[in-house]
């Protein structure tokens, strides 16, 4: 079938029209990648774009007498961006290496892991801006009381996708490298369902990356000043430890047997626990073992004869102590059981009364600095004689976590 010249022209015009209209339609759908009130589409909120909207608001309020009117979300966000971001989108790079561009301030986020939430609180990020939290946060109502009524979004092992989508968050905040495959899968599924949801991922428990991650997170939420205070707190305490431990040769370092809440599960190179032992000037007697958290042979402990033994509590079979529990009896029982293990009476650590119980609440997450201070004091009691880790702990809780909690009276963090 042959087309006439007019018909061909009509088809061409229709095709051209479709090509022109489609990108416009697609662009209009993607509201997440546009600055509010950026009418010139130059990715800058300018005074010329703000003023008419402000004038419109003032007109309604003062000339039309609508005294209860509030600025529109677009005006509020554009004002914020103009004031705090120099009118431009904000770009950050998280610990997965992905670059995230924010076109509006974060006002409604989902936080999957408690390390992230604890650091957000240190940075003074308002709980009102958190729509949903992980299930482990909800179980920790003593430490996270203001989040006890937030929506449960599950965990990295079992996320509640429907709930996350339902909350329509600006961003989901979760781990970067811990359980990275699961994290990547969660991000992909959520963003397949709603591409406008940003993912910002930090681990926030490795000493080697914590400070940098906290600084970047502070920048993402525009809390740079608070971020500087937090970083200063960590740096001061790290310098305190380093000033003593940095000149100790490896052969002279305190030999440590570290055990998690699972019997004979220790820490080796690559684990956060091993990193913290090294920071405190110690060396794990199983640092060369594999994997990162090796199950060790009890006989090997006797052969390696550690100077100090540290047993971790707060999870698994030893889920007690920490902030939630002020009863020290269970910690004392664990302490006694450890010392009574077969053959352990010959260990230097037992003979020198250098066996300690440590709660993961001050070692596993952002509070690693507190636990590391305790380790340093246990490893080098004379050098750290004048250091009181409990005092540093209290400062962290009062100044950064803003909790009404007396660490010397309440909770069980170390024993004996």
């Amino acid at each position: 079938m042959l087309f006439s010249c007019k018909q061909k022209m009509l088809v061409l015009l229709l095709s051209a029209a479709i090509l022109i209209v489609c990108p416009v339609w697609a662009g209009a759908e993607d509201n997440s990648d546009k600055l509010p009130l950026d009418t010139s589409h130059d990715q800058i909120v300018s005074p010329d774009e703000l003023a008419p909207e402000i004038l419109s608001y003032l007109t309604e309020k003062y000339l039309n007498g609508n005294s209860n009117i509030q600025p529109t979300t677009d005006l509020s966000d554009a004002t914020y961006i103009y004031t705090n971001w120099e009118g431009k989108p904000k770009t950050i790079t998280d610990s997965t290496g992905q670059t995230i561009t924010l076109f509006r301030p974060l006002k409604n986020v989902v936080v999957m892991n408690s390390e992230m939430l604890e650091t957000l609180r240190s940075l003074n990020f308002s709980a009102d801006k958190v729509a949903g939290v992980g299930k482990y946060t909800l179980q920790d109502s003593c430490f996270f009381p203001e989040y006890s009524t937030k929506a449960n979004v599950g965990s990295i092992w079992s996320p509640d996708y429907e709930k996350i989508i339902e909350l329509e968050p600006d961003a989901v905040l979760m781990y970067a490298t811990f359980m990275q495959d699961s994290g990547d899968e969660i991000q992909k599924k959520i963003q397949d369902m709603n591409p406008s949801i940003k993912f910002i991922r930090f681990d926030l428990y490795y000493p080697s990356t914590y400070i940098e991650e906290a600084e970047t997170l502070a920048a993402a939420i525009d809390k740079e000043e608070k971020g500087e205070q937090l970083v200063s707190f960590y740096e001061n305490n790290l310098e305190l430890i380093n000033s003593v431990t940095e000149n100790i040769q490896k052969d002279n370092r305190t030999k440590v047997y570290f055990e998690s809440w699972d019997d004979y599960k220790s820490a080796a190179n690559g684990s956060g626990y091993n990193e913290k032992i090294n920071l405190a000037g110690g060396v794990s007697i199983f640092e060369d073992a594999t994997p990162e958290y090796p199950i060790v042979n009890p006989e090997e402990i006797l052969i390696k004869n550690p100077d100090v033994v540290v047993k971790l509590t707060g999870s698994g079979k030893l889920a007690f102590g920490g902030y939630e529990d002020s009863d020290a009896v269970k910690a004392d029982e664990v302490y006694q059981t450890i010392k009574d293990r077969a053959g352990w009476n010959n260990l230097d650590a037992v003979k020198e009364n250098s066996v300690y119980i440590l709660s993961n609440d001050i070692f596993g997450g952002p509070e690693y600095i507190i636990g590391t201070l305790y380790l340093a004091k246990w490893f080098y009691p004379e050098e750290f004689e004048n250091i009181d880790p409990a005092e540093v702990h209290q400062r962290y809780i009062s100044q950064f976590q803003q909790l009404d909690f007396n660490v010397k009276k309440d909770g069980v963090f170390v024993s004996p």
């Binding site: 402000i54 004038l55 003032l58 000339l63 004031t83 705090n84």
Partner: protein, 175 residues
Amino acid sequence: MKLTFILFTLIVAVFLFSAAGAEEMQGVTYTITPSGETDEYKILLNTENIGVGGLCIKLPGDFSITDTNAAEGTYKSEGTTLIVALTGEKELYFIIVSPDMKIGDLSISWEDLAKGTAGGEKNQLKDADELSQVSGSTTDGNSVKQSPSLFCGIFVIFLLIIAALKSRNSKEGEF
């Protein structure tokens, strides 16, 4: 005349003292001065304490704007009301013609949309024949630090001393 001068001095002092009283303040300082032409006044606004926001001035009578340094599209007037959008301006002026400026209420309100703060005040113009300048400062009393507070305090003391001297001299019969 003497009494008017003292009262005016005190009125200005009270306005400024209210600005200097709180250590941390945010707001607008303003003056309204007759230009010398009939019914013409210059409204001078210092808005450096406000980032992004706006203000509203209600004058005692209808007016028209004859000149301003505010950009077109950033202000609007209707009857006795002037509204101005602010995006970081430090100082603005409006030359207005207002035959009814002499007696009545004058109010000014401001908002800082970035900080979520607002403030304002209302004054009453009573004796415009003796009035050379209306001066004031509006504040919410709790926001940003205002650097001129010390200056205001000193100026208040200065004005009170002048007022006292004038009063004393009056008793001695030099007026």
